[in-house]
Amino acid sequence: MQAILQLLVSGVLLGGVYALGALGLNLIFGVAKVVNFAHGEFLMLGMFAAYWLMTLTGINPYLGAPIIGAAFFLVGLAFYAGLMRFTIYKPELTQVFATLGLSILLQNAALVAWSADYRTIQIMPAGWESIQVLGAYVPTNRLVAFLYAVAILLAVLVFLRSTFIGRAIEAVSQDLVAARLMGIDPDRVFLMTFGLGIAITGVAGGVLMPSFYAFPSVGSFFVLVAFVVVVLGGLGSIAGTILGGLLLGLVETGIGYVAPDLKEATHFVLLILLLAVRPHGLLGVKGAEKETLK
C-alpha cells in the first residue's frame, strides 16, 4: 500500500518534469506548426542559465526564473527573427533542417564554451531533499518543478484567453486565413509565440536544473520524451501537455517498479496505442496533426 502511494507521488512528479519539458515545444507547434528540433538545446541553455545565475550571482533558479524567462523571451524573438522567419511558410523539411542544424550548432557552441563536464547545483539544505506526507517521500525539488508546470499552464491559459495578443495567437493557431482577414498580422503573432515558447522552455530548463545536471547534450535526454508528451496530450493543446506528461509519468513509474528495463519502452508503446485509437491526442483538436500553414 505504502509502495503504491509512493509510486503515485513519484509518477505525478515525474509527469510534472515531462510536462515542463514539453510545454514550450507544444506552444510553438500549436501556433506556428513548426516542429522545433532544437527544443532540447533551448532546454539545455535554460539549465546552463540557471547554473551560471546560481554560481555567479547566488540567485537560485526558483527565484530567478523570471530573469531567465525574460532573457529567453529575447532569445526566442531572435530565434524567430533571425532564422525561423525565413522558413515559416516553407515546406516542413526546410524547418526540420533549419532547427536540426541549429540544434547541432548550439550543442557544439555549448561544448566549446562550457566543456563537456556535468554541472550540478544544490538548493535544498541538507535534510530537506524530501518531505514526508502520509508516509510517502515527496522530493522537494521536483515538487517545486511541478508547481512551476502548473503555474506556467495557468499563466499561459489566462494570457491566451484574456489579452489581445493572446487571442490573436489563438486565432492564428485555429485559422490563419480567417485571422488574416480579421486584420491580425501573423508574423507578429509568430514572433510573440516563439518568444513565449522559448521563454517557457528556458524557465523549464532552469527549474529542472536542481533535479538534474547541465551538459551540452543533456537536451537529448528530454527531447524525445517531449515529443511523445506533445503527441499524447494533443498537438497544440497546452492542458493536454500536462495531462500527457502525467499519464506518461504514472505509467513509466509503475512499469519501472515491476520491470526497470522496460521503462523507456513504455513511452513508445503508449504512443503507438494512442496513435491507433486517438491520433489527435488526449485533448487535441481533430485534424490538428495534419495541419500546416499552407
Partner: protein, 425 residues
C-alpha cells in the same frame, strides 16, 4: 579548369603514390612519431572522452619536454568520434589521410569495437587504453592491444570484494546477505552485471534482484522504490555519470537504506559525482582504476612519475585534478611513447607489434598500479587489475588490493544519509 598533360601526370603520379603508400617505405614516416588519437570529444560521452584526451596530452608534453621520440616532438592526429556510427569513417580518415601507423583510443567500447576493425584491416596498430567490453579482444585481431582488464573481470572482482570483505565487514554471512545488481544496459554494463552475478552464484550468495535500465533515463525513483520493497543489504551498480547522480539523489530523496553500495568505474569515480551529492557520496565503494593509489607500492621510478603526474597535471589544465580516466589515458600514451616506440625503433607496424608483445613490466610499474605483459593470444594486458576505493571526505581513496590501498580506515556499514561526513576517520 583544364589540366595540362604534365599536371595530369603529376597528379596521377601523386594519387598512385598515395594509394601505394602503405606498401612503400617512406623515409619521413620512419622518424616522426605521429599518433592517431580517436576519442569521443563531443556528444554524450564527451566528458570522459576529453578527460582521456587530457591524459594523452599530458603524456605528450612530458615526452616532448624530454626530447620527444626518435629525436623529434610527438605529434597527434586527432579525430572526434561522438558515437560508434562515426568510428569507422574517422578511423579510416586517420589511416588514409593522416597516414598514421598507430591509433590510440577510445574510452567507449562500442567505438573501440568499430574503429579497431578498420585498423586491423589496414594493418595499423590500435592501442585501446580504457574500453572494457569483453568482445573487443575476442576477435583474434593481430594489431589490437588492450591495456585494461575486461568488463566481466571488473564485475567479478567487484563481487569478490563484496563476498570477501563487505559481507563479513558489515556483520553478515554469505547465507543471509542479500545482494542486488543494477546496471545500465550498454554492452559494458551488461557484462559487468553478468560477471558479478556469476561470481555471486558460484559463492552461493543470494541475488535478490538483477536488473538494467537505459542510461538516458530521467527518473530512477521507481527503481529506488523497488529496492525499498526488496530490501537488499548490498547493491552492486554500474552506471554512467548522469544516471549515477540521478540514482543516488533519488535514493536520498526516498531515504533508501543500504549496508553498502559498490560502483564499477563509470560515474562512481569522477569528481562530478561528489559535487552533485556532497557528503552523501562518502562511504560508497568503487571498483575500477584509480590514480589515488599508494605510491609506496609502485616501482621507484614509477613513484617519481606518479609524483610528477599529480604535481604537473593540474598546472597544465587550470587546476583540474586528474581522474582515473586521465590516468589510464596517460598510462597508455606514456607507455607507447617511452617503451614501445623506442623499442620498435621506427613507425613500422610489424616492429611496433613485436615491441609491444616483447614488453614485460612488473606490477607497480604504471601510475595506476598495473604492470604490462600482453597475452600473445588475446593481446590483452595480463597484468591489469581493478583496484578498490571508498569515497571519504568527498575524495576517492584507494583501499585495496594490498599494497595499493592508502586509506587508514574503511567505514562500513554505510552510515545513514546526512551522517557521512566522518567516513574513513
Amino acid at each position: 579548369m583544364t589540366l595540362s598533360r604534365r599536371r595530369f601526370t603529376t597528379l596521377a603520379g601523386a594519387a598512385g603514390l598515395s594509394v601505394a603508400s602503405p606498401f612503400v617505405r617512406r623515409a619521413e614516416a620512419q622518424d616522426l612519431a605521429k599518433i592517431g588519437v580517436l576519442l569521443p570529444l563531443s556528444g554524450p560521452l564527451a566528458s570522459l572522452g576529453n578527460e582521456v584526451l587530457r591524459g594523452f596530452q599530458f603524456a605528450r608534453s612530458l615526452v616532448n619536454a624530454g626530447g620527444g621520440v626518435f629525436g623529434r616532438p610527438v605529434e597527434f592526429a586527432q579525430v572526434d568520434v561522438p558515437g560508434s556510427t562515426e568510428a569507422t569513417s574517422q578511423a579510416q580518415r586517420l589511416i588514409t589521410s593522416d597516414r598514421v601507423k598507430v591509433i590510440v583510443g577510445s574510452y567507449a567500447s562500442a567505438i573501440s569495437f568499430a574503429a579497431s576493425q578498420v585498423a586491423e584491416r589496414n594493418r595499423v596498430v590500435y592501442f585501446e587504453q580504457g574500453a572494457v567490453a569483453d568482445d573487443i579482444t575476442s576477435r583474434g585481431f593481430k594489431y589490437l592491444f588492450r591495456f585494461i582488464y575486461n568488463s566481466t573481470e571488473l564485475g567479478r572482482k567487484c563481487a569478490e570484494y563484496a563476498t570477501d570483505r563487505i559481507i563479513p565487514g558489515v556483520g553478515l554471512d554469505r547465507k543471509t546477505a542479500k545482494v542486488a545488481i543494477l546496471n545500465e544496459n550498454s554492452n559494458n554494463g551488461t557484462a559487468v552485471g553478468a560477471g558479478a552475478k556469476a561470481w555471486l552464484d558460484e559463492k552461493g550468495v543470494q541475488v535478490v534482484d538483477h536488473t538494467s535500465y537505459d542510461f538516458k533515463t530521467n527518473d530512477l525513483s521507481s527503481v529506488v522504490q523497488r529496492y525499498k520493497s526488496l530490501n537488499p543489504d548490498i547493491l552492486i551498480v554500474e552506471q554512467y555519470t548522469p544516471d549515477a547522480i540521478l540514482f543516488w539523489r533519488q535514493a536520498r530523496e526516498a531515504g533508501l537504506k543500504l549496508k553498502a553500495m559498490i560502483g564499477n568505474g563509470g560515474g562512481h569515480n569522477v569528481n562530478e559525482f561528489a559535487e552533485a551529492l556532497g557528503d552523501d557520496v562518502n562511504g560508497i565503494f568503487n571498483t575500477g582504476t584509480s590514480v589515488y593509489i599508494n605510491p609506496k607500492a609502485l616501482q621507484p621510478e614509477t613513484a617519481a612519475l606518479f609524483k610528477t603526474f599529480h604535481e604537473e597535471y593540474p598546472k597544465m589544465f587550470d587546476g583540474r585534478k586528474p581522474s582515473a580516466h586521465a590516468g589510464m589515458g596517460f598510462n597508455a600514451m606514456y607507455t607507447l611513447l617511452t617503451d614501445i616506440l623506442p623499442a620498435a625503433g621506427g613507425m613500422d607496424t610489424e616492429k611496433i607489434r613485436q615491441a609491444a608483445l616483447a614488453l614485460d613490466k612488473p606490477v607497480g610499474s604504471s601510475i595506476v598500479g598495473w604492470g604490462l605483459k600482453f597475452d600473445p593470444k588475446t593481446q590483452n594486458n595480463t597484468r591489469a587489475f581493478p583496484t578498490y576505493d571508498q569515497w571519504q571526505g568527498r575524495q576517492i581513496r584507494s583501499i585495496g588490493p594490498d599494497p595499493f590501498g592508502i586509506a587508514e580506515k574503511i567505514t562500513m556499514p554505510l552510515p545513514d544519509w546526512g551522517q557521512r561526513a566522518g567516513v574513513g576517520q
